[in-house]
Amino acid sequence: MNFDTSEEQELLQDTIGKWASSECPPVRVREFFDGEAPHDPSLWQGLCEIGVAGLVVPEAHGGAGLELIDLALVAETLGFHGVPGPFLGHALACVALAHGGSPEQQRCWLPRLASGEVLGTVALAESGARWLPADWQLRLDGGALRGAKRFVPSGEVADLLVIGTAGGGLALVESRAAGVVAKSYPGVDRARRVADVAFEGATCEPLARGAEAAARVRDAGLVLLAADAFGAASRLVDMAVSYAKTREQFGVTIGHFQALKHQLANMAVEIEPARGLFWYAAHAFDRVPRDAERFAALAKAHITERGMQVARDVVEAHGGIGFTWECDVQIWFKRVMFDRAWLGTPSLHRERAAKLAGW
């Protein structure tokens, strides 16, 4: 029994953490957050050079052949540093192809996804909070798609879209194909831009084992959101703690006061123990099939909900400055808002967890 990260995994987190500290410090995050560009190619390029784009792509197709736990550790680190960009959608597109692509589809796309030459994403949500495979209604008529998807990460800049279709399958569409219209707009988390994508008879190619892959994409997505929220919430707690150590009132730093000290301790207790939960959800996805679906739902519901409450508490702990656009707290606050809502709210996944327990 060894429920701990390996040296390689610690090195991976460390490498990305160091890269983020030097290439993507808060000032750079804010620059993108405040800007209008839908994508920062140089940041994504930096991550591709570390190998992030192909982490879960099998080695035979030019990837690192790692597991979801490794991807989740990366998501935690990116969340902690608030790194903007298309990681989530791209990672899930890789999961879809790795778990459901035909040999030919894999040969065609995986090497280019792994190198970062092709940017992938997933188009899942339909209006009315239809996030899950059973809810999808997008029709596939004779190989052509008609309908629309919402909140597609990097939907305007991705090259390849993996699309959820009626019946719970998946299909591939190239964004430059005729009949694909992507319209980016500012979502609440400006670090991870989303788009509405309309399909007006666009030609698509169904994924060979689409239904199977759709369930894997759902579970992987839930785990990655939980991991990202864990990282972001940990950063928020750090911000509040360091503010308490520097801000002075009544002649001492405010961290001296028990009222605030206890609030900060409560925040840490809400978040830090949840590390084991997203680890296990990822581990179950990789190795314990009977727990995979249920723990992905539990981890997403728990960590994004607790992370959101902590984010609110962190704003309060900062006093007036915490409520300003100028304070970095808002950037991570909104990151957790994204993690909480994308793929469905905590209550949806708690009900799923209840059902999956046989309650």
């Binding site: 029994m1 060894n2 429920f3 701990d4 990260t5 390996s6 995994q9 736990i69 703690v241 308490a244 150590k245 001492v252 730093t253 961290g255 001296h256 006061f257 028990q258 000290k261 206890h262 900060l264 301790a265 409560n266 840490a268 207790v269 830090e272 123990p273 949840a274 590390r275 084991g276 939960l277 680890w279 296990y280 581990h283 190795r287 314990v288 723990f295 539990l298 981890a299 519901a301 728990h302 960590i303 909900e305 607790r306 905590p346 209550s347 708690r350 009900e351 967890a353 209840a354 327990a357 309650w359």
Partner: protein, 405 residues
């Protein structure tokens, strides 16, 4: 990362089953011995096989096995399945033995660890006093060396299991002129002597686990001190650490949660099983998030500790996390009980309302969970510890001034 029961573990399970088939319940002449003797004999056999007292060195009666949470959980499952005796659980095993192993003199380990580990010597903890709760280091119970003995005067309170204890590990002021933290020693005081009087305290749930202990010229041999004179505070920190740490708490949380789910399945709400009610399902799943986080953080902490790696701040959080869970479980249980929550847990109540055994234990638990949150350092003291030691926040302004540190 690997939590699965691989073939190595499955063969360990088979080995444990074979042992239990042979030894519990006892066979032949062993079966005719009195119960205490049967239990003792079984425990000795289980220690010899390496199944009990795995964390205690052989020199002190343990089986000295590598720390392995999966083997430990297989042992727990298999022992529970055939109702075989586990390790004794109590204050002596939870707190004194780890402290002695870390800080005790050689003769103290040899004399006190083996009988405690075999459930033949029982302990209580003499820390809190009426005037010294959260500010424990202000304690006033005095011990003076008279010839070859410590002579002790003072009063302890909230002393769990003082009735029936053979010894108390007791914090006493031995250096009255030293600053408050540096004037305390950690003494091992025999309980069965004229200078010790125990008075049970009745709790709000009707039980009497806690006591007052009056020390009026109580005596302890000169060498019954752990660490040196004036080092008692440091030694007591080691004990508190053991009280807070460990995955044991997550096991309790998991058991309580399983009991709660069972209660939700057997209770009614709006004419159907409560477990089908959307609100109850939401609350159960939300609570399970905490329980599972606690469980897997525990596995992570154990794995890291076993490899000598830093466990990080969770080690300081275990107690608060598990008592928070205990409180939430108790609150949801009371909602599930409905009218049965009006019953008095200290009496038979109205037998037409539900099964007395079920409501009595949950109503009692509703109150008892608050006692657990207070014992071993209140929840607010836990928050101080987390704030100061895990987050590195400064000590409380007023505490700083009064401690003279």
């Amino acid at each position: 990362m690997d939590l699965s029961y691989g073939p190595e573990y499955e063969s360990f399970r088979a080995e444990v089953r074979g042992f239990l088939d042979a030894h519990w319940p006892p066979k032949g002449t062993d079966a005719e011995r009195p119960k205490a003797e049967r239990v003792r004999r079984f425990r000795e056999q289980a220690v010899a096989a390496g199944y009990l007292l795995r964390w205690i060195p052989r020199a002190y009666g343990g089986s000295e096995q590598p720390n392995d949470a999966l083997r430990a959980s297989i042992l727990r499952e298999e022992f529970t399945r055939v109702r075989a005796p586990h390790e004794p659980r109590g204050i002596g095993m939870m707190m004194l033995v780890p402290t002695l192993l870390e800080k005790g003199a050689e003769w103290q380990k040899q004399r006190f660890v083996p009988p405690t580990a075999m459930d033949e010597m029982h302990w209580c903890q003499g820390y809190s006093e009426p005037g010294s709760g959260s500010d424990l280091a202000s304690l006033k119970t005095r011990a003076e060396l008279v010839g070859d003995e410590w002579v002790i005067h003072g009063q302890k309170i909230w002393t769990t299991n003082a009735v029936g204890a053979d010894y108390m590990f007791c914090l006493c002021r031995t250096e009255p002129d030293a600053p408050k933290h540096a004037g305390i020693s950690y003494l091992l005081v025999p309980m069965k002597q004229p200078g010790v009087e125990v008075r049970p305290l009745r709790q709000m749930n009707g039980g009497a686990d806690f006591n007052e202990v009056f020390l009026t010229g109580a005596r302890a041999p000169k060498d019954h001190i752990v660490g040196s004179r004036g080092e008692g505070w440091l030694v007591s920190r080691a004990t508190l650490k053991h009280e807070r740490a460990g995955i044991g708490n997550a096991e309790v949380s998991l058991m309580m949660f399983a009991g709660l789910v069972q209660l939700a399945k057997t209770s009614q709400r709006g004419g159907r099983p409560a477990i089908e009610d959307p609100e109850i399902r939401q609350r159960l799943a939300a609570l399970e998030g905490y329980v599972r986080a606690h469980e897997y953080s525990g596995y992570r902490a154990l794995s890291r500790a076993a490899r000598g790696k830093d466990v990080g701040p969770v080690a300081l959080m275990t107690k608060l996390v598990s008592t928070n869970i205990g409180g939430e479980v108790a609150k949801l249980a009371l909602d599930l009980l409905g009218d049965e929550g009006l019953q008095d847990p200290t009496s038979q109540g109205n037998s037409e309302l539900g099964l007395p055994g079920v409501w009595r234990s949950w109503v009692s638990q509703y109150m008892y969970s608050l006692g657990v949150a207070t014992a071993g350092g209140t929840a607010n003291i836990q928050r101080n510890v987390i704030g100061e030691r895990a987050l590195g926040l400064p000590r409380d302004y007023y505490a700083d001034r009064s401690s003279g540190r």
